[in-house]
């Protein structure tokens, strides 16, 4: 009962009073109202919505789509044509389609089945994959579409209705914490004044809540029953993607009221701090602004795949070349010799004339017609194109797809990428980009929800010049620990040589002494109950111990500021213990203050219109007392003011102004006698800031009643003013009272990072990746996070690009441009000058400056500067800008970019980047839907890139190269044979051998390679992130490698073919005198090919599990089995291959000896190549493999060299935690040096030392 009544009471608070001059309540000016009215009914503004009468929207012209959303690419009808079209857009597939068509007209050298079957198989598999992926999309849509919302049916009854069944005109009721199912027109809310709070993080990434307010006219509609008779008509704009505009009017009870964006609740945003709202559906489904804003995700192709196209072109030109040679050769033979070959019975000109017409047709062989040599050669050319088609790896695409699907499956199944908290795991949503993960050079990251949890934690505070909550930063801790570790071996060696120097103090900077030197913080390790938003451990303040502090009054005032100067409200939670409250406020920061002050014994319990009630711990009586404070005024926080104040009077009638704000702003407004703690506080501030904590300074002043009265009249007047000058007046008024403050201290809150984020960023930085932070949040927050993630650090040179005040006020694009250009140029000059020095650069730019910087003529300069900075932070950027930056960076640098984000505001960026990653831990699905990979947490990016990316890149590039090799080696033997058959188009091998080649006999090993190959294990990948650089440098798929592999294929084919014909011809191949005929030679040569290509893949593989062994040796075995089975079939099926193994080649020792010889000889060049490379030009993975091999016996990680190399590999890293620790160590060492020097000086200057050195005994 109590809870219910208090909720009712809370609902009665008039929020509009609380926010005394919030800008969003600015009423429309009459001019705008007029403009809006004029637009209605014009083209583009023709939509009519009959509120609460959805049945009227079932017929034209008011028929609008249902609220059903589909993101699938295909539907049942369009799947076949569209998917087929997609398939045959690939050059290779189109070529094989043509080949298959030709095969129907007896042009082809092969049987029809052997040409059509592989094509159907390949295309079928690819289409199946498309279908499965689309099915998943469909299921996700289904999930969204089947959410429910309370919808009005009739007579004031609301029932649950599926989202997809909503129609325009439906009245819905959305409860707190729910998403809006479509774009709604706000009719009324649970708050009396029709205000509601909306979280739009999914749309624009801004974390603060937006206020929406209904029209006065519809305020009364705040009960279910009211809607039984409700009717209204809305005229408004047509669906469009613009999130921030809305033009329309509503006719309600014979009156027309204009509508503005502040009445429009957008799909994908969430209701917060408001119990419920009523709204009417204006735009549904694909008409909603959020959906209109989303673009269909472009199909992305990886770099390797794009390069693969070029390889296909090369192979294709090779194909055309050999086909030309063949057709030209056949032309020559036909012209010169072939006429004399009587055994061919070629249609001779003379003979044809002799025979009657019916016979002449029968002699007409289009391929060998001496009377039409050119036509014959042309046909031969087409036949050759098909014949040598084995040069084009038809199964390459399908094998790659199979491999990628399997890779994807393995990525999805990785336990290390499973998040226990959200029970979600990594999802590769498309399998196209696995290998692209291994080539990323630039990461563009969103902040809120991606790096941070959007949750504030109270961490530290400095009250009256004393810092609480611990002094040591984590960087100090890590640095001192590392230094100790470094010194240990060093110290050891000293021990042995000279015992006297043992007193040398490596522990000088150890944790204990460090904290002892710099303050007397008592770190209590006892873990209390974890309180959300409060991560503060200092028993000088907790448990009411603060009453023993020296500056009791300041401490008390400090806590009062914390408990009173805010806009929050307490929230009764039935489940919660009654003495602890939870709070809700506009920003999570304020919530953390309220929780902290409650922990300190200043519980904020109630707020009424003009009263705030605190339950305070009274030091004198040692009891909790309830005190009431009259809220006189509230001076709102805004980004330009950067401060907020409340004016309260306590029970004794004393009037206080309690103020909190950015430290610089507060420090400017201090009274002369209020600066007692300024120096100490400033010191603490900088240490907090370095840790990435957000700081706010607290101050107060007492106001005399008279002064207050006179000020209040001015302020009230200002508030009553209507018009553009209102804000200025208010600003001036508050300026006059917020002065002569007395500084109390500062608080530091942590924008809580997600688990493992700094470590992950550190590893990514070590892997050589650049990380850009793009956030919609304000600059201070962004910089704090930059520090917290070690993207920025104190010794880093920072450039801040922003519009200077005059340029901004002038509002002249030209001025602004010049301003920015100047800043960029000066910064760039500095970068150029100091590039060789160690200190890296950081760039911070805000949205407005960015807008200028990304314009055509400035953008190159800007990008040049940005690329040269170690880290870049862009704040206050709109979703569109995020996408724009991503595109420009991608274009300008040509490097692979990865964008990661969690909200709908990141969708543009995610789609634009080469790889888009969505965070799936959050509620919104938009980013995930648009992404290529979804992660439950940012930290999984580390393993995804450094392990899986690296592996997949290696696997796919090895695989593609091998494929090229394999097909060149096989395809060219066909060509060589043509030279011996007078280019007649005869094939050395049986049709089925050839069909089996790509489908069965060589496909499994290459798939095993593509799925399971590992150059080094995952542990080692993570320990040596620098290995990742192989991908961005593209060492495994460079043109020299590609050409090398093609040459290797040429060599192998030559060896195989020549050895076979020289050995098998013309003498007997067996003891019984039988000679090798075309079938024996074909089977033998083919055996050699199967052995060679399968042994070649064994040479490539560096990681043999039983699967690889089975697939490689099994494929070879399979060939013999196939030959046996095929040969055992009746001759009707097997043709000339009948019994070829059993009777022809099997019993001949020559056959087996050729196989051994050819395999060794054809692999020898490659083997010598890798031997030379390994021995004299080893790559990093080779060395690491060797290191691992050598130290397998011991535990690798304890090995000294291992640790040293790990350290060395990180040396060039410029950002991240390790780099920061390194920098710290450097500065510590400098201090140490100085200290040693001073000790040395003091010793050498001491009289004793002098006497010793000058003594004659020495």
């Amino acid at each position: 009962m109590v809870a219910a009544s208090s909720r009712k009471r809370k609902g009665k608070i008039r929020w509009s009073k609380l926010y005394s001059f919030a800008a969003c309540f600015r009423p429309l000016t009459s001019k705008e109202r007029l403009a809006a009215r004029e637009l209605i009914g014009q083209p583009g503004f023709s939509r009519v919505v009959f509120c609460n009468e959805p049945h009227l929207h079932k017929r034209k012209p008011y028929k609008y789509p249902y609220n059903y959303i589909s993101t699938t690419k295909y539907n049942v009808l369009t799947f076949l044509p569209r998917a087929l079209f997609e398939q045959f857009r690939r050059v290779a597939n189109f070529y094989f389609l043509l080949a298959a068509i030709f095969s129907l007209f007896s042009l082809a050298p092969f049987s029809r089945a052997s040409l059509i079957a592989p094509l159907v198989f390949v295309v079928g598999i690819s289409m199946l994959k498309e279908a499965v992926e689309d099915w998943h999309r469909f299921l996700q849509d289904l999930d969204v579409n089947n959410r429910t919302v309370k919808t009005h049916i009739s007579n004031g009854v609301f029932v649950d209705k599926l989202w997809k069944e909503l129609r325009v005109g439906d009245v819905v009721k959305v409860n707190k914490g729910e998403y809006f199912p479509s774009d709604l027109l706000l009719l009324s809310s649970g708050n009396e004044d029709g205000v509601c709070y909306v979280e739009t993080m999914n749309l624009d990434g801004e974390t603060n809540l937006k206020i929406k307010r209904c029209l006065e006219a519809s305020l009364c509609l705040n009960e279910d029953e009211e809607f039984s008779k409700f009717k209204a008509t809305v005229h408004c704009e047509d669906p469009n993607p613009n999130l921030y505009t809305f033009v329309g009017n509503i006719e309600f009870e014979k009156e027309s009221y204009p509508l503005s964006p502040s009445q429009l609740l957008l799909r994908d945003s969430k209701l917060r701090n408001t119990d419920y709202i009523y709204g009417v559906v204006i735009f549904s489904g694909h008409d909603t602004k959020a959906v209109r804003n989303s673009t269909r995700s472009p199909s992305k192709r990886s770099r390797i795949e794009r390069k693969m196209d070029h390889i296909i072109y090369i192979l294709f030109s090779m194909l055309v070349l050999v086909s030309l040679v063949s057709s030209f050769g056949s032309l020559l033979y036909l012209r010169q010799d072939m006429v004399d070959w009587w055994y061919l019975q070629l249609p001779d000109d003379n003979k044809v004339n002799d025979l009657d017409d019916s016979n002449s047709e029968k002699y007409d062989d289009r391929f060998f017609n001496p009377s039409k040599p050119v036509q014959s050669a042309g046909l031969q050319f087409i036949r050759a194109l098909i014949l040598y088609g084995y040069l084009i790896p038809i199964s390459l695409y399908v094998s790659i797809e199979v491999v990628k699907v399997l890779q994807t499956m393995l990525i999805n199944k990785d336990i290390e990428l499973y998040d226990d908290v959200t029970c979600k795991s990594v999802q590769a949503r498309t399998s196209n980009l696995n290998e692209e993960l291994g080539q990323v050079e630039m990461i563009l990251s969103d902040k809120t929800g991606t790096l941070t949890c959007n949750q504030m934690e109270f961490r530290k505070c400095s009250i009256a010049g004393v810092s609480y909550g611990g002094d040591i930063t984590e960087v100090d801790l890590a640095a001192s620990m590392r230094m100790n570790a470094d010194f240990e071996p060093f110290e050891f060696s000293i021990d042995e040589t000279d015992g006297a120097t043992r007193s040398f103090e490596p522990f000088e900077f150890s944790v204990s002494s460090f904290s002892a030197q710099n303050g007397n913080a008592r770190l209590t390790k006892t873990e209390g109950p974890v309180i959300k938003g409060f991560n503060f451990r200092d028993d000088r303040l907790t448990n009411e111990n603060w009453i023993h502090g020296s500056n009791l009054f300041d401490i008390t005032m400090f806590f009062r500021v914390m408990a009173l100067c805010h806009t929050g409200i307490p929230l009764e939670d039935d489940n919660h213990k009654m003495d602890k409250l939870s709070y809700e406020a506009e920003s999570p920061e304020e919530v953390s203050f309220l929780i902290a002050s409650q922990e300190f014994g200043f519980q904020f319990c109630r707020r009424t219109q003009s009263l705030m009630v605190l339950r305070e711990f009274d030091p004198s009586s040692m009891k909790e007392v309830e005190r009431e404070y009259k809220l006189l005024n509230l001076l709102e926080f805004s980004s330009s003011r950067k401060r907020m104040s409340v004016i309260v009077s306590n029970e004794d009638g004393q009037i206080f102004l309690l103020c909190k704000g950015a430290d610089s702003i507060i420090f400017d407004r201090l009274a002369d006698n209020g600066r007692a703690y300024e120096q100490a506080t400033t010191m603490h501030l900088s240490s907090y800031a370095e840790d990435g904590l957000r700081t706010l300074a607290f101050a107060y002043r007492t106001i005399e009643a008279a002064e207050y009265e006179s000020w209040n009249t001015i302020f009230t007047q200002a508030k009553a003013t209507i018009g553009p000058e209102r804000e200025e007046l208010l600003e001036q008024a508050s300026e006059t009272i917020e002065k002569d403050l007395i500084l109390l201290g500062v608080v530091a809150v942590e924008d809580k990072l997600q688990k493992g984020v700094p470590e992950c960023i550190d590893k990514l930085a070590q892997a050589g990746l650049k990380i850009w932070l793009l956030t919609g949040d304000k600059r201070e927050t962004a910089i704090n996070i930059g520090f917290a993630c070690s993207l920025l650090r104190q010794d880093m040179k920072q450039f801040h690009l922003s519009l200077s005040r005059d340029a901004e006020s002038n509002n002249q694009v030209k001025d602004m441009k010049e301003d920015i250009l100047q800043q960029i140029e000066s910064s760039y000059k500095m970068v150029c000058e100091e590039r060789n020095k160690e200190a890296p650069f950081g760039l911070v730019i805000d949205g407005k400056a960015l807008e200028i910087a990304l314009r055509g003529d400035v953008k190159d300069e800007f990008l040049q500067l940005a690329v040269n900075c170690a880290s870049v932070i862009c704040c206050r950027v709109s979703p569109k800008q995020k996408a724009l930056i991503t595109r420009l960076v991608k274009q300008y640098t040509g490097k692979t970019t990865l964008a990661i984000g969690d909200g709908a505001n990141d969708v543009g960026m995610i789609q634009e980047a080469d790889i888009g990653v969505g965070i799936s831990g959050m509620e919104g699905m938009e980013a995930v839907m648009a992404s290529d990979f979804s992660l439950p947490q940012f930290r999984f990016l580390e393993r995804l890139l450094i392990v899986h990316g690296h592996w997949c890149y290696q696997r796919i590039s090895k695989m593609v190269l091998y494929f090229v090799y394999k097909n060149v080696a096989f395809g060219l033997t066909l060509f060589y044979y043509e030279l011996y058959t007078s280019f007649s188009g005869e094939v050395l091998y049986d049709d089925w051998y050839m069909t089996m080649f790509n489908v069965m006999l060589t496909s499994l090993p290459v798939i095993a390679l593509g799925v399971l190959e590992q150059d080094v294990s995952s542990d080692i990948c993570l320990q040596f992130p620098a290995l990742y650089q192989q991908g961005p440098r593209n060492v495994h798929f460079s043109w020299s490698r590609i050409i090398g592999w093609i040459l290797n294929g040429v060599v192998s084919s030559l060896v195989i073919f020549l050895a076979n014909i020289y050995i098998l011809s013309p003498t007997a191949m067996r003891e019984n005198g039988f000679v090798a005929d075309i079938d024996s030679l074909g089977a033998t040569t083919y055996t050699c090919i199967i052995w060679t290509v399968n042994c070649q893949i064994a040479l490539i593989t560096s990681h043999f599990t039983w699967i690889q062994h089975l697939s490689i040796w099994g494929s070879i075995l399979l060939w013999y089995i196939f030959l046996l089975v095929y040969g055992a079939l009746p001759p009707n099926f097997s043709g000339n291959a009948f019994q070829v193994l059993v009777e022809g080649i099997g019993p001949a020792p020559l056959y087996w000896m050729i196989t051994v010889l050819v395999v060794v000889v054809s692999l020898l060049p490659y083997f010598i190549h890798i031997v030379i490379q390994r021995s004299y030009f080893p790559m990093d993975d080779h060395i690491i493999q060797e290191m691992e091999q050598c130290y397998k016996k011991y535990d690798v990680r304890d090995n000294e060299m291992w640790v040293r190399e790990q350290r060395n590999s990180q040396r060039s890293t410029r950002i991240g935690f390790s780099a920061r620790v390194d920098a710290k160590i450097l500065s510590f060492n400098q201090q140490l040096q100085q200290k040693k020097l001073s000790i040395y000086r003091s010793v050498t200057n001491s009289p004793i030392y002098r006497s010793i050195t000058t003594s004659p005994f020495s």
Binding site: W341, Q1029, T1067, V1075, S1080, H1103, P1178
Partner: protein, 330 residues
């Protein structure tokens, strides 16, 4: 470390999870100098002996090759050999004689060798009907036999260019005035005789057309016993080929003089092909062919050389394995 610890907590034992976690036990060979040297030496030590044995086998084979296409045309006709061979009125018999250079142990295989004869021409190879060869007249799938499938509206058995161009030179061998018996049985593959050429299929309407190609067939003998045809129908892979004619099952001594009476019927003159008669013994490896042995010896000795060179290089300027100075960051 913690990563692996966490992994072990879940069941790592099942083979499936080992697979999905990509941690199947694997062998990771690393190419160390020792391995390289061992490999090359191994190849060398296997290949050289094998090569030598092979060469020996090849050298044990005695081979006599006699070209007779020009010699068998009488002097006056040598200007226009084509008209000589096409003129049926001129007798085509001819004789050759040669001395056996080395002792030849039976069986001695008799081959005829044709050069520049494209039995592998696509038009030629395809011009046959396996169905007809096996099942005879019942089958009508003879369209593949173009252009020799029917004559006077009746199908030809065996049809097709290959059969039509059957080689028809014949040889008889005389040593010391006694005829050497030539065994002409079992010169074709057993499976061909048993399963590809019908026992009840008899030549029919063969070589009756206006154009006469090669040899004629005895219409009373079923195809499965026409071994000459069967051998001829196994088309050769290359334009220069030998085909088995028969076997002499008596040893030939050194300096034995063998006289060959042959019927020089087959026309190779129009396209400049050569005809040779080959007598050869065989070893376990088949005929005389040094290429294989030489290749083995060459590769074997190259491998040994590479091994030696590599060992020297390794000793003179060794790259220490796991030498970290090659790492890019050093």
């Amino acid at each position: 470390m913690t990563d692996t610890d966490r992994g072990t907590q879940r069941d790592r034992h099942s083979a499936f999870s080992l697979f999905t976690q990509q941690s199947l036990p694997a062998c990771k060979p690393v190419l160390t100098p020792e391995w390289v040297i061992m490999t090359f030496l191994f190849i060398g030590f296997i290949f050289i002996p094998v090569g030598l044995v092979t060469l020996r086998a090849s050298h044990s084979v005695v081979e006599i090759v006699e070209r007779y296409d020009i010699g068998c045309v009488p002097e006056p006709f040598r200007i226009d050999k084509v008209s000589y061979i096409q003129d049926d009125s001129i007798p085509k018999n001819c004789s050759l004689s040669f001395k056996v250079p080395k002792y030849m142990k039976a069986p001695i295989y008799i081959y005829y060798q044709l050069d520049n004869y494209y039995q592998n021409h696509r038009r030629y190879v395809k011009s046959r009907s396996d169905k007809q060869l096996l099942h005879g007249q019942n089958e009508h799938g003879i369209s593949s036999c173009q252009p020799v499938e029917v004559n006077n509206d009746r199908p030809i058995i065996p049809c097709g260019l290959i059969a039509w161009s059957l080689f028809n030179d014949t040889f008889t061998f005389i040593r010391n005035r006694a005829e050497l018996k030539v065994n002409r049985k079992n010169i074709a593959w057993k499976s061909d005789r048993g399963h590809k050429f019908g026992k009840n299929v008899y030549p029919f309407n063969f070589q009756n057309g206006t154009l006469i190609g090669g040899g004629k067939l005895n219409p009373t003998i079923p195809l499965s016993d026409q071994e000459d045809l069967i051998v001829w129908m196994r088309t050769s892979a290359l334009p220069s080929f030998r085909k088995l004619y028969g076997r002499i099952e008596k040893d030939l001594d050194v300096d034995d003089v063998v006289v060959v009476h042959l019927m020089n019927n087959y026309n190779t003159y129009s396209f400049g092909g050569k005809k040779k008669l080959v007598l050869s013994t065989t070893s376990w490896l088949g005929g005389k062919n040094d290429f294989l042995g030489l290749a083995y010896v060459f590769i074997g000795s190259s491998s040994v050389t590479i091994a030696v060179v590599f060992t020297l290089l390794h000793l003179l300027s060794p790259r220490h394995y796991e030498d970290t100075s090659y790492l890019p960051w050093n």
